[in-house]
């Protein structure tokens, strides 16, 4: 039990340590990028579950991120005052709508962020099921290309749709209220609370996924990944398990999209771009495919460096190069499982020891 919870506690400790470091060095502005990193990490760990544990690749997860972000952004900014009908009145009476003021002092009647979030997740689940059903029958390159298609479709739709802001995207998205008076927002005054909120959500997501891996379902997924026909012969519905994992990882991406959009107060079409999807896959790959902690730590480092602009205009190129190098020299990822024992074996000079796996 202790061994199981140790990594979670250690990671939480790291998050606290980083915050304290910014406090003592007087650099609290770093927390803004670190908070954004947290939400991107949520996409990465969900994708890691799909790639590493269910053995399926997706080059379209930026699309699911964007579906979440755009649905929530649109619903919480679209003014319903001039569209009053029976349905809007019903929503208003049931408390699903909120009156608020925009930055110019005008009044707005919009959907409550919680309802918008629920709608975003529902739409993502629907799309993931509809697309995943036929697409997951494909394998290898074909699956990669088909999922690439999903991302491109979402990108072109948001880029070409007037009421989604076309190339400008949607801005002035309100904060996301949470119980206890907390608000997910990018205001400098709530930087620290939002930093902890975001990473708390990531840790919660990690705990859910770690539980899943250790469960009957996780074992079945490992079996499907290892020998699909044998898993099928043991009564495991392999297609359904792959599809459910696909939908689950899409929901992780959509939730991240919703929350980051409220944090950033807006979203643009680049979030749906192919290079974003490639970046997520690259981070999972470098983190060690079937290694949630590896993917999470790589996401923390790389997303942060990218968001701080360390890669400059070469940002996308850096992730492309990382993906190529990993595929060439460490296809199991840098932080793959059993890395320590493998290293020990390489270092040990005793040939007898080398033979025992």
């Amino acid at each position: 039990m202790v061994r199981r919870h140790f990594p979670v506690a250690a990671f939480a400790g790291l998050i606290v340590a980083i915050q304290l470091a910014t406090l003592f060095t007087g650099t609290p502005y770093y927390l803004t990028q670190l908070t954004m990193t947290a939400y991107y990490s949520l996409v990465v760990v969900g994708l890691c579950m799909l790639i590493g544990y269910a053995g399926q690749i997706s080059l379209g997860h930026a699309g699911f991120f964007a579906i979440g972000g755009y649905v929530s952004a649109f619903l919480t900014t679209f003014d319903l005052q001039h569209h009053r009908g029976a349905f809007v009145s019903l929503l208003e009476k049931s408390g699903a709508l909120v009156f608020r003021h925009d930055v110019y002092g005008g009044s707005l009647l919009t959907v409550h962020p919680w309802l918008a979030c629920a709608a975003a997740i529902l739409l993502t689940v629907a799309v993931a099921y509809l697309v995943g059903g036929p697409v997951l029958k494909l394998k290898g390159h074909y699956l990669a290309m088909a999922t690439l298609g999903i991302g491109i479709i979402v990108y072109r739709i948001v880029l070409g749709t007037e009421f989604l802001g076309a190339a400008d995207g949607i801005s002035e998205v309100p904060g996301f209220p949470l119980p206890g008076g907390l608000l997910i927002t990018g205001n400098a005054s709530s930087r620290v609370s939002n930093y902890y909120l975001a990473w708390g959500i990531v840790i919660l997501g990690m705990v859910l996924l770690l539980n899943l891996i250790r469960s009957r379902v996780g074992r079945a997924l490992a079996a499907v990944h290892g020998a699909e026909d044998a898993a099928e012969a043991m009564g495991i519905p392999t297609a359904r398990y792959k599809l459910h994992t696909f939908v689950l990882s899409a929901v992780f991406a959509a939730v991240a999209g919703v929350l980051l959009t409220h944090y950033n107060a807006g979203i643009g079409p680049s979030e749906a771009g192919v290079m974003k999807s490639v970046r997520y896959v690259a981070i999972v790959a470098i983190g060690g495919m079937a290694n949630l902690w590896g993917a999470l730590s790589m996401s923390l480092v790389l997303n942060y460096l990218s968001l701080r602009g360390y890669f400059g205009t070469y940002d996308d190129a850096v992730f492309g190069v990382i993906l190529i190098l990993i595929m060439l020299f460490a296809p199991d990822g840098l932080l793959r499982r059993h890395l320590l024992s493998d290293l020990k074996r390489m270092v040990s000079r005793n040939p007898a020891e080398e033979e025992t796996p």
Partner: protein
């Protein structure tokens, strides 16, 4: 009582009629062997029965219901579990984990219950482990529980694969060449194990090339050649059957 009834099934691959109008029954509690020269269609028949392939025509009745249209997964859920000619253990998983997977159809924790680690899943996991250790002890592989399954000796891997199938508590166990690649001693042990499994109440249908094993343990034997049944009888009668001898040894020998 008949557990499995294959009635007039056929399967064509392009220009090749791999299985043609084949019928046989497997009585509950018996060991039935399917033999025939190389390329006779035995593995195809196995794949048809276990849902990995679907027959072009004919009916397969298992436990009173038609199953020829079901997937291999659905067939397994109904209590028919198979092993593979080329051992298909789950790589990078221990012997115990391989057997645990076999308990899949007898447990129910889904995605949500797993993620939330609901209390009922803990109890379920405990039961799965207990049952798996029971099976490993019966097969004498409990000592290897923590060993990576694919690193075991070939003969032991076969036993693990059978253990994994037994963990499903099948009504009918399909064994595809269980003695392939085993030495003489291991083959004898395998024969004893299969008899023991039958005595536990599990019906067995096997494809096998080792005639001494087949003749020793089978209650009945079906002989196929070029996708058609040429004989079905008790082992002793099969050994004397002229048609069978002709198929195996050629015309000149008669």
């Amino acid at each position: 009582m008949t557990l499995l009834s294959v009635r007039g099934i056929g399967k064509r691959f392009g220009g090749l009629q791999a299985v043609n109008d084949l019928s046989f029954d497997v009585a509950a509690g018996s060991i039935k062997a399917l033999i025939g020269p190389n390329g006779a269609g035995k593995t195809t028949i196995f794949n048809l029965v276990s849902g990995f392939l679907h027959p072009d025509n004919g009916v397969i009745v298992f436990g009173g219901a038609e199953i020829q249209a079901l997937s291999s997964c659905e067939v397994a859920v109904r209590g028919m579990v198979r092993t593979f000619q080329h051992i298909r253990l789950f790589p990078r998983m221990t012997v115990l984990e391989n057997i645990l997977v076999g308990r899949h159809v007898h447990s129910r924790a889904g995605f949500l219950a797993g993620m939330l680690s609901l209390p009922f899943t803990w109890k379920e996991e405990r039961r799965i482990r207990e049952k798996s250790f029971e099976i490993m002890e019966m097969l004498g592989i409990a000592g290897h529980a923590g060993t990576e399954a694919t690193s075991l000796a070939y003969g032991q891997q076969r036993v693990v694969e059978i253990g994994r199938a037994l963990a499903c508590e099948p009504k009918l166990l399909l064994l595809d060449e269980p003695a392939a690649g085993l030495n003489m001693r291991e083959t004898i042990e395998m024969g004893a194990l299969i008899s023991r499994i039958r005595d536990m109440g599990v019906t067995v249908l096997l494809v096998e090339h080792d005639m001494s094993l087949v003749m020793k343990i089978s209650d009945e034997v079906v002989v196929v050649s070029y996708g058609e049944k040429i004989a079905e009888d008790r082992p002793l009668a099969i050994q004397k059957n002229r048609e069978v001898i002709r198929v195996y040894l050629g015309d000149d020998e008669c």
